[in-house]
């Protein structure tokens, strides 16, 4: 009987080592909603500097959250990286994250860019201003997002579908500053002024402005920055015909979203995960994101890329990101009602 048990144990143990990649070396498992090209290089630097191996899966944020949830207490996830605040708030609500009470994080990131219970922190900022055709639009005629619903912009505005999280966050932010009714009225007015039924991504909206389909687009800055720094001369030429206008500078400020990071509740490599969070807030990683993808660093004193500098400094909307995340569903239903495809 005893022998039987031993054989069984051996079997189970060998089974276990076969299927799970448990090794003695320090490692950290990252579930990332950021695409591989925009995280792998910096993770490789992390491994080089700390000797901690990084295992990576990339994918859709909600699908990754569902995966962590269904993997439950045995989930290998140590860290969740998201490209917007809504998903971090949702992950926290679903109980799959834990607090990371770390003074380095607190001193690097302003409080309004962190979760109040320290479950997540922002890593970079992504702004969503107005972009206009230099040859057709006088920036003097632009002022606020509200202003875009005026009659004079009828048939002149391009923006992507409301399926997109950046639009959902933008509307959610507006719900915080203006309230439901006014946001709905704004969304209806904006839809009224659409040049075409929303299609394509942010770059497509910028291209449509240059092609003359519309005069104004709403898009994230790093898309325009990426086009301005493209290897393709035609793309650069297209991007140069468009300029950024920062709306609501006298009021609530321009909409910003974040990319952020959270430590998973059932993380087994917590120490390594904490180190990774610190590394992502290091000058090196912050500069990398600023230079490579033209996102705004969350940390003070990190130099922006030349392209970002040219786009100018701006006042960002300082609303509670937690609230922005929480009203995401409401924002989406509001856009449904406004007929925003």
């Amino acid at each position: 009987m005893k022998v039987m048990n031993k054989t069984k144990m051996l079997l189970v143990a060998s089974f276990a080592t076969f299927f799970t990649a448990t090794s003695i070396a320090a490692e950290v498992n990252v579930y990332s909603a950021r695409k591989e090209a925009l995280i792998k290089p910096i993770l490789d630097d992390f491994t080089e500097q700390t000797g901690i191996k990084v295992n990576l899966i990339t994918g859709n944020a909600d699908a990754l959250i569902s995966r962590i949830k269904s993997e439950g207490q045995f989930s290998p996830a140590d860290v969740l990286v998201s490209t917007d605040v809504g998903r971090l708030v949702r992950a926290k609500q679903m109980g799959i994250t834990q607090a990371n009470d770390d003074d380095i994080v607190k001193s690097s990131v302003p409080a309004y860019l962190r979760d109040e219970d320290e479950h997540w922190t922002a890593l970079t900022l992504r702004a969503r201003p107005i972009m206009y055709a230099k040859d057709r639009v006088d920036p003097e005629t632009l002022s606020t997002m509200q202003g875009l619903t005026k009659e004079e912009w009828k048939g002149r505005i391009c923006i992507r579908s409301s399926n997109n999280i950046y639009n959902q966050s933008m509307i959610s932010g507006m719900i915080q500053t203006q309230g439901d009714a006014q946001t709905l009225a704004w969304a209806e007015g904006l839809v009224e002024n659409f040049a075409r039924s929303p299609k394509g991504g942010d770059r497509d909206q910028i291209k449509a402005v240059v092609a003359g389909e519309c005069d104004i687009a709403i898009a994230n800055t790093y898309y325009l920055a990426g086009m301005l720094n493209s290897e393709d001369a035609d793309t650069r030429k297209v991007a140069e015909q468009v300029a950024v206008f920062w709306p609501d500078q006298a009021g609530a400020g321009a909409h910003v979203n974040i990319s952020g990071i959270s430590i998973a509740k059932h993380a087994t490599n917590t120490a390594e995960a904490k180190k990774l969070v610190q590394f992502m807030l290091s000058d090196q990683a912050q500069s990398w994101y600023a230079d490579t993808n033209h996102e705004y660093p969350v940390k003070e004193g990190i130099e922006w890329s030349d392209t970002l500098k040219e786009m100018g400094e701006f006042k960002a909307q300082e609303v509670s990101l937690t609230k922005v995340g929480e009203t995401n569903a409401k924002a989406l239903m509001l856009m449904d009602r406004a007929g925003w495809r």
Partner: protein, 544 residues
């Protein structure tokens, strides 16, 4: 003997239930209905989802049928210059994922693309001086999908036409019926079940598509499911939407099955097949030209565009990773194919042995996954496997004080499971169509000679089915190669496939950078597609 057959069908039902788990998980979501959410959906977007999905499915079904049947008829009944080449290449659009052809044509045909720019320069037109059809629209999506999905109809229609006995044609000639009238009044009705099956596959694929409709800005059930889940964070309402889609597809399948049942015949392998009519050079060239159009627009044009992008913008440093991506893709596709086709054979055989209501419903049920969006299937797979993993760990902890961790979730097992439910339908349609063509008297003869049911399967059916099995294998292989959403969510750590790589670049709006992985998928897919073509040509020769 009877006992054996029923034991076999018991296993089948069990296997069906396990494979059907992800669908159950989705349907289970109906246990409670959030009326607030549903009121909102039905007041705002639901009618749009239903309308667009219906039009898309019908449009793709019609387009694929038109192209597939027309091509099949020309290839079977005429001999013309260049036919051999046409036959070799005609299935190539299968290797082209719908979202990739959509990206490519957008790049070619949108305002700043080469076509419109050239037209503007030639005719000295301004921005507002002319009208040009918008690619990114519902009709655009229908055309894109029909262009890459017509092979499903073509394969089945061609076999059906080829197997029609020459004597039918001779009767038509005696009755003074023209070739075209013969096509409409005799050949087409006889081939209808096969054509319907092909059309149903194309329609299901269209319903499950996410990449194309999302990029084209067409709101369908699939985009609605993503939106409800990701945007509203409401997994339950999203599952219910997929459940609704499932029921719609179920109705479609029942219709298809019924049309097949009413036309079921075993006459196919009798007599000689249709003989092709030799066309004059002039007529032959016209037919060749017309028949080449789907191939040109469904494969050659997008392929050249991708190649141009890939050559112009590829960073040579990244090339080293491609062999490993291709290997991963091929490995997953190979394992998945073996599992899926074996199971499909088992299901079809069980249904043949005992066509009980239960058996038939199980087979129908597992086929539903083909119309479900990959992400929904992924979640349907994760939930039961995650549960199993946790129970397994608790069990081993209790008895052996060992925790193996996640044995199923996050391993290739999960992926294969997801592929099985997603692509079972493709394999089933082939094995079922094949097995139906074998006359029951063959089984009886073998049994009389003392073979068991299992021996009959190996000695009689599998050899007769080899062509159907091979085409099932190749179709499933190419489908897995192209699969994206489930692979993305379920794959293990540090594991990339070609489809994942393409998607990451394309969804980051770096279309041109995505050209290289995209073209690699197409290249890896070409080989099985060409093999498939050869198999089909050999079958036809056998019948001729």
């Amino acid at each position: 003997m009877q006992l054996k057959a029923s034991a076999f069908s018991l296993y089948t039902v069990l296997a069906g239930l396990i494979i059907g788990l992800p669908i159950f998980v989705v349907l289970l979501s109906f246990y409670s209905l959030d009326t607030a959410v549903w009121t909102h959906l039905s007041e705002t977007v639901l009618s749009g989802y239903i309308y667009n999905s219906l039009v898309l499915a019908l449009g793709v079904g019609f387009g694929a049928t038109l192209l597939g049947t027309g091509l099949a008829w020309c290839v079977v009944s005429y001999d013309f210059v260049g036919k051999i080449w046409l036959q070799r290449l005609i299935l190539l659009p299968l290797a082209m994922p719908a979202y990739i052809i959509a990206y490519t044509y957008t790049g070619l045909l949108d305002f700043s693309g080469p076509v419109q720019s050239t037209l503007r320069t030639w005719f000295e037109l301004g921005k507002q001086d002319y009208w040009f059809p918008e690619v990114r629209s519902l009709p655009g999506a229908i055309i894109m999908m029909a262009l890459v999905l017509y092979p499903y109809v073509y394969i089945l229609a061609r076999t059906a036409f080829a197997e029609q006995a020459q004597k039918f044609r001779e009767v038509s000639v005696l009755a003074g019926v023209s070739k075209f009238q013969h096509f409409l009044q005799v050949a087409l009705p006889l081939a209808r079940p096969a054509i319907m099956t092909g059309a149903a596959l194309a329609m299901m694929e269209a319903l499950a598509d996410f990449g194309t409709v999302e990029y084209f800005g067409v709101s369908t059930f699939t985009t609605g499911i993503y939106r409800t889940w990701f945007g509203m964070g409401d997994i339950q309402a999203a599952s219910q939407l997929s459940g609704l889609l499932c029921m719609f597809v179920f109705a479609l399948l029942v219709l298809e099955k019924q049309s097949r049942r009413s036309a079921e015949t075993y006459s196919s392998r009798q007599g000689t097949g249709t003989q092709a009519l030799k066309l004059s050079i002039g007529k032959g060239t016209t037919v060749l030209f017309l028949c080449s159009l789907p191939l040109i627009f469904g494969f050659i044009v997008p392929f050249i565009q991708l190649a141009v992008w890939a050559l112009a913008y590829t960073d040579a440093g990244s090339l080293g990773e491609y062999p490993s991506y291709a290997l991963n893709s091929a490995m997953l596709a190979a394992i998945g194919t073996v599992v899926i086709v074996l199971l499909a054979l088992m299901f079809s055989y069980a249904k043949r042995l005992q066509a009980t209501k239960l058996n038939r419903s199980v087979v129908q049920f597992v086929g539903l996954g083909y119309a479900m969006p990959g992400t929904v299937i992924a979640i349907g797979v994760l939930i039961p496997l995650g549960w199993l993993d946790i129970k397994l760990n608790l069990f081993t902890k209790h008895f052996f004080d060992v925790q193996p961790g996640l044995v199923f979730s996050g391993t290739i097992v999960t992926l294969i499971f997801a592929y099985t439910i997603r692509f079972m339908s493709v394999a089933l349609h082939n094995t079922e169509a094949g097995i139906q063509r074998i006359k029951p008297s063959m089984d009886e003869a073998a049994i009389t000679l003392g073979d068991t049911r299992l021996q009959t399967l190996f000695k009689v059916h599998i050899p007769l089915l080899s062509a159907s099995l091979l085409s099932a294998c190749l179709l499933v292989f190419v489908d897995i190669l192209k699969e994206l959403p489930a692979t993305l969510v379920l794959r293990p750590f540090n594991f990339n496939t070609l489809a994942v790589k393409t998607f990451e670049l394309a969804s980051d709006e770096r279309l041109i950078d995505a050209a290289l992985p995209a073209i690699t998928i197409v290249l890896v897919g070409i080989l099985p597609v060409l093999l498939l073509t050869r198999t089909l040509n050999q079958i036809e020769k056998k019948h001729a």
